[in-house]
Amino acid sequence: MNLQVNFILESEMRSGSTVSLKFVVRVVAVVVPVLMGIIIAGLIMGGRSARQSLRFAMQEKSQLDPVYQSVIGLKQELNECRQVADVLEGWGTSRTDWRLLLRYLQGVVPASIQFLRLTVNETIGRVDNIPARMSAMYLKGKVTGERAEDDVQLLDNALKEKPIFTNLFLKVEVKRFEAAENVADKNTRVFEIECIQVPKKIGKPKVVP
């Protein structure tokens, strides 16, 4: 039987461990503030660097801004000039080529047909919110002979099908075909043809910068 008698008071007891609590506390007391200091210093440095980058960026922006604004001004001026140029060009290119139209019209009219009136009306309207020329041609004529109907149909078909006219006219329609009044010859017919022209835009849509 063994008997152990401990004569050391509790306050006098020493730990057998190589790392004492006191040592750990001292190490922590030094290391934690140092680490904190390093982290805070790093953060301050980083923050300062970010602030400096921002300052440089703002400085660069303030230097570039006048140049940028001048280019934006130029672009705006360019848009305005283009609009004016488009209207000027559009006005010129949307004109009816009378030489072409009248010459070819004369070429397709059968010999038996005599025009009583040729009228062209033009208005300036808007297509897709752009000013456009809208015009229509009205032909009134008389035709004599047994083939009166065929001749008017011939003219109508030519106006509808000849490439020169298909580019010009949107719609061609015989509006009237009837016996002429107060004419001795009972084979005389009066007709009216309406040719609606393709609307021609003056200018181009506005470009939003």
Binding site: S11, K22, V25, A29, V32, M36, I39, I40, L43, I44, G46, G47, A50, R51, S53, L54, A57, E60, K61, L64, D65, V67, Y68, V71, I72, L74, K75, E77, L78, E80, C81, R82, Q83, V84, A85, V87, L88, E89, W91, G92, S94, R95, T96, W98, R99, L102, Q106, L116, R117, L118, T119, V120, N121, E122, I124, P131, R133, S135, I202, G203
Partner: protein, 215 residues
Amino acid sequence: MAPQLKLTRQMQYVILGVMLACGVLFAVINFLVVPIITEWKVNLNKTREIQAQLNSDRGVIKTRSAVQQQLNEAQGKIRQLSEHIPLPVLGNFMLGMEASIRACANDLDVQISQVTYQDILELEGTGFRVYRVRVTARAGFWPLICLFQNLQDSNPLLSISELTILPREEQPEKHDVSFTVSWLIWVDPTKRPVFLMKATSSRTSEHSTELKPEP
């Protein structure tokens, strides 16, 4: 019997120290670290935004010479075409227009009987108006086509519309013709684009130097 919890003085110091350290740590994190990190983040984001803006600005700035060139081309085109836009002489457009119409009919078998003012149309949103005059004439079919051609060749901005051709019983080879001649004019000639005013004024000053009497 309840266990007796008896802290030594040293342990009390340690606990006090730990509590103090926690307090300091909290204060440091709350009042130093967090504001620094927040500011850092804000600054970084702002910098990134500005950098992106700068990149796009640089892209725009790079196009400067191309834009300038396009602008010069557009202005050149306008300058060239605007020479065909009539300007009023003491507020009068008609005199010059009538003269130019009659000049186009000079060598043709066309009898122009009347040239009268018709109206002015608005071309909304374009800065231009259309000045229209009505022409009444007597002409054969081919001379009429030639007159139209001469008129349109004389001015690329002159257009013919509202045409009426009526045959004449007594003289079938000639027709009674009336048509409208339209010119594009500035809504307000004094508010033309600045570069046109400069060109006009420089031209005027050139003329004025040319016209100076010799000493």
